[in-house]
């Protein structure tokens, strides 16, 4: 198909200077520890490829200063120690997102020895745009055509040899998901990578580039491997390159570029358009050359999208899927949560009691604080793992982009776009990863608004509080109360977003663009690694804070504030903790829970919401729960094994039931109430219990979330969030309490 008018003429090619080429290659061969960076468009299967190439050597961390994931590996290849660094997916080197900025900055500053460029074989033209930009660096390039199998299904047979001849760099074929071609990829890339054939831009532009490159040669502070790239970026008016150069004192270069642009403009040349057109003309030419006969086939993606994006079924299907994910999370994970928090913890406590029987104070600390603290963190992991698995599946399969497409119209009423829905959904699992997920949003104000409303999304740590109160106070309508909390959280979040948009953070202009990548069945190994790593990093971050909180609360409860009481045997109301809570409790009296015990349990919740229930237990049940019977080794093992087996059975048995409709209102039988639920039923009225739940839902996010917000957007935003949420929580709880009283609860 050709356009019915004159398309841009084919640009000529620019063969790299032979001397420069030889010098670069010699440098690469002499390098004892070469650095290889992996660059490619999003959705090219790059993460799977890196996993296949690096295997167990892969280390995942963060880029400093931003929460963009950094994957790197050190491995021995043909006797050399090779540093492999995966750069975040980018459509081009003119950054529009923090991830693309990381990629561009790394290419400028990390002085890579080889660029390994990953292409989607089924989408050559667009992927080659980035390749052509990469070839403008003085860095050897090797190309790998990934997803070859998928391209063949679409009827595209790419001729790698022809592409390699035309680009002047090695081109290999891989199917990373099946580890085809990945074994020797690194070795051959290191051997064969070279400077490729460049696009020759229209003469006026090449003249300007030549002049700018000449000026740069006199400036030793500029990375010498990037002169041509920087010159082109200046002419394209790339704001981030301009910002970077002016910040490093190179305003003379910017002035020179502006002078060139003025001349080009006067001659009717728009450099941005001419450069893009020249690259696409070349990319299209290369694509036609390497894919001789392309026939369009109706793909699986087309058929699935017919359903997933259906005008009537699309949104119900999406909401059903979200519900399914959460039901799956709760029913599959909760037997293990109960197992860790119940029988396993009892077993370990029993052993500790037996071992430390000679040292009562130590026993009390271990059994009363350390084991419950560790247990709290551990009991959180099954939920997170299942949730992260489900979320990674939806993300990696390509469905999340469809969710953004479906929800865009709705989110627009809040001045946000559809992509903002994804961190909000993640927030139901855990606010912490959700805050990091905001980085995929383009505008800073969007990222801040979403991060600030995120904590209103009821994370799974808050669920145990709802469940125990629902069981205690609303035996007939427990599920409705729990659902109500989720809905109220969303309502408050959306109202708050609307308010923020009209005050501090108005929407930045600039359109919305989403890519809808082809559906792919995610590789289980990658999914598992993803989910496991996210879960482990949560455990790592939460471990210290939660353990410390539980220990401090235990200590404050053990220290008497009244003379005549002894350490560790003091009744809760006479401890320091009790006295502080009593001083604080009048603040909560208008909300219906001015009782010091209720108010006191909120304090540790600042640090981690999952300890609220634990602290309620400590306060309301006191010693009763803290001294389990000593347990022998054999009896303990028997108890643990049989409990684990029961949990596995319950969990597997729950899988088929997730598809059944939820039974609301019949799930909490009164006679099965736990001791804590019975204690709470005596201490709260339905109205004050509801108000307490609303407060727990809305008050200050846990310290880990606050930390994530501070890391992402600065301390000021984090503190403003904390202050706002405390006030909103108080006001909303007050209103709910009054309303509930008015309704006669």
């Amino acid at each position: 198909m050709t356009a019915p008018f004159s398309a841009p003429s084919l640009p000529e090619m620019l063969v790299p200077d032979e001397q420069a080429c030889r010098a670069t290659l010699e440098r690469l061969q002499a390098q004892s520890e070469p650095r290889v960076v992996v660059v490619g468009n999003p959705n090219t299967g790059k993460t799977t490829l890196i996993n296949a190439v690096a295997g167990t050597n892969l280390k995942v961390g963060n880029w400093s200063g931003v929460t963009v994931e950094k994957r790197e590996a050190q491995m021995s290849v043909a006797g050399r120690k090779v540093h492999l660094l995966d750069l975040p997916g980018a459509y081009s080197l003119s950054p529009h997102t923090p991830e693309e900025l990381v990629t561009r900055t790394a290419l400028l500053d990390e002085s890579p020895d080889v660029i390994l460029n990953v292409l989607d074989a089924g989408n050559l033209e667009r992927n080659l745009y980035l390749t052509l930009q990469l070839l403008d660096f003085e860095i050897p390039v090797a190309v790998t055509l990934n997803l070859v199998d998928e391209a063949q299904e679409k009827g595209l047979n790419v001729d790698a040899a022809a592409l390699s001849r035309a680009l002047g760099v090695p081109v290999r074929e891989t199917v990373a998901s099946r580890q085809q071609g990945t074994q020797t990829l690194l070795e051959t890339s290191l051997q064969q990578a070279t400077l490729g054939v460049r696009v020759r831009y229209p003469r006026l532009i090449e003249d300007a580039v030549g002049d700018l490159v000449g000026r740069m040669k006199a400036l030793p502070t500029l990375p010498s491997h990037a002169h041509r790239y920087l010159a082109l970026a200046l002419l394209e008016g790339d704001p981030s390159v301009r910002g970077r150069l002016s910040a490093t004192g190179h305003t003379a270069l910017i002035d020179a570029a502006d002078a060139h642009l003025a001349v080009l403009e006067a001659q009717g040349t728009d450099a941005l358009i001419e450069i893009a057109e020249a690259r696409y003309a070349r990319a299209g030419d290369l694509a036609r050359l390497s894919v001789p006969q392309a026939e369009a086939r109706r793909t699986l993606t087309d058929r699935l999208d017919g359903l997933a994006l259906h005008p009537l079924l699309g949104i119900p299907l999406f909401l059903g899927l979200v519900l399914l994910v959460f039901r799956l999370t709760f029913s599959v994970a909760s037997p293990f949560v109960d197992l860790i928090g119940g029988p396993l913890q009892d077993t370990v406590s029993g052993w500790a009691s037996a071992l430390l029987a000679w040292f009562p104070l130590g026993r009390d600390l271990v059994v009363g604080a350390i084991i419950p603290g560790v247990g709290t963190v551990l009991s959180f992991l099954p939920t997170l793992l299942v949730l992260y698995l489900a979320m990674s599946f939806l993300e990696d399969s390509g469905y999340m982009a469809r969710a953004a497409f479906l929800m865009d119209r709705t989110m627009r009423t809040l001045g946000l776009d559809g992509r903002a829905f994804i961190p909000l959904i993640l927030g139901f699992g855990c606010n912490v990863p959700a805050v990091s997920a905001t980085r995929t949003l383009e505008h800073r104000s969007d990222r801040i608004v979403v991060s600030m409303i995120l904590p209103f999304m009821s994370c799974s740590a808050r669920l145990p509080v709802y469940v125990i109160f629902a069981a205690a106070l609303f035996p007939k309508a427990g599920s409705w109360v729990v659902w109500g909390m989720y809905v109220l959280g969303m309502a408050v979040a959306f109202t708050f977003a609307y308010f923020l948009r009209r005050t501090s953070y108005p929407a930045e202009g600039g359109g919305v663009l989403l890519e809808l990548p082809p559906y792919r069945f995610p590789a289980w190994k990658v999914l598992w690694k993803h989910a496991w790593r996210r879960t482990a990093s949560f455990a790592k971050r939460a471990r210290t804070t939660v353990l410390a909180t539980v220990a401090v609360v235990w200590l404050l409860m053990a220290l008497p504030a009244v003379t005549g009481q002894k350490f560790a045997t003091v009744p809760p109301q006479d401890s320091i903790f009790g006295k502080v809570s009593q001083a604080m409790s009048p603040i909560f009296a208008p909300l219906g829970f001015g009782d010091w015990r209720a108010a006191g349990a909120l304090v540790p919740g600042f640090i981690a919401k999952e300890v609220v229930v634990g602290t309620l237990g400590q306060i309301y049940l006191g010693e009763q729960a803290a001294t389990p019977a000593p347990l022998g080794l054999v009896a303990g093992v028997q108890q643990a094994v049989s409990a684990t087996w029961e949990a596995v059975k319950t969990s597997l048995g729950a899988v088929p039931t997730v598809l059944a409709l939820p039974h609301l209102g019949t799930d909490t039988a009164t006679d099965q109430k736990s001791p804590l639920a019975r204690a709470l039923a005596g201490a709260f009225t339905p109205a004050s219990g509801l108000s307490y739940l609303v407060f727990v839902l809305l008050y200050t996010p846990c310290i880990v979330t606050v930390g994530a917000i501070a890391q992402e957007h600065g301390r000021k935003v984090a503190w403003v969030t904390v202050a706002y949420q405390l006030s909103i929580a108080w006001v909303t709880a007050f209103l709910v309490y009054r309303l509930a009283l008015g309704l006669g609860l």
Binding site: A3, P4, R126, G510, V512
Partner: protein, 76 residues
């Protein structure tokens, strides 16, 4: 030979890119994604509430809001 803005096309229709308005908020990104003169673009579908709109260009599916289709000019 009709020159049209992309927002006047219906699902299933397509055209060849003529130009992008200089003031288009996504101009730079669209150029990088292949919205250059002569490229073939077609409308795949509209989202359930009519907006955004799914486009196909260079074998890639992209979604843009209807309001951002206005500054993209095509010839059928």
């Amino acid at each position: 030979m009709d020159d049209l803005a992309l927002d006047s096309l219906k699902p299933g229709e397509g055209g060849y890119i003529l130009s992008l308005d200089r003031t288009h908020p996504l101009r730079r990104r669209l150029l990088e994604l292949g919205f250059v003169r002569g490229a073939r673009v077609s409308i795949v579908r509209r989202a359930p509430m009519g907006d955004p709109v799914e486009l196909r260009i260079n074998g890639t599916d992209l979604a843009l809001r209807a309001s951002d289709l206005g500054g993209i000019w095509v010839r059928l």
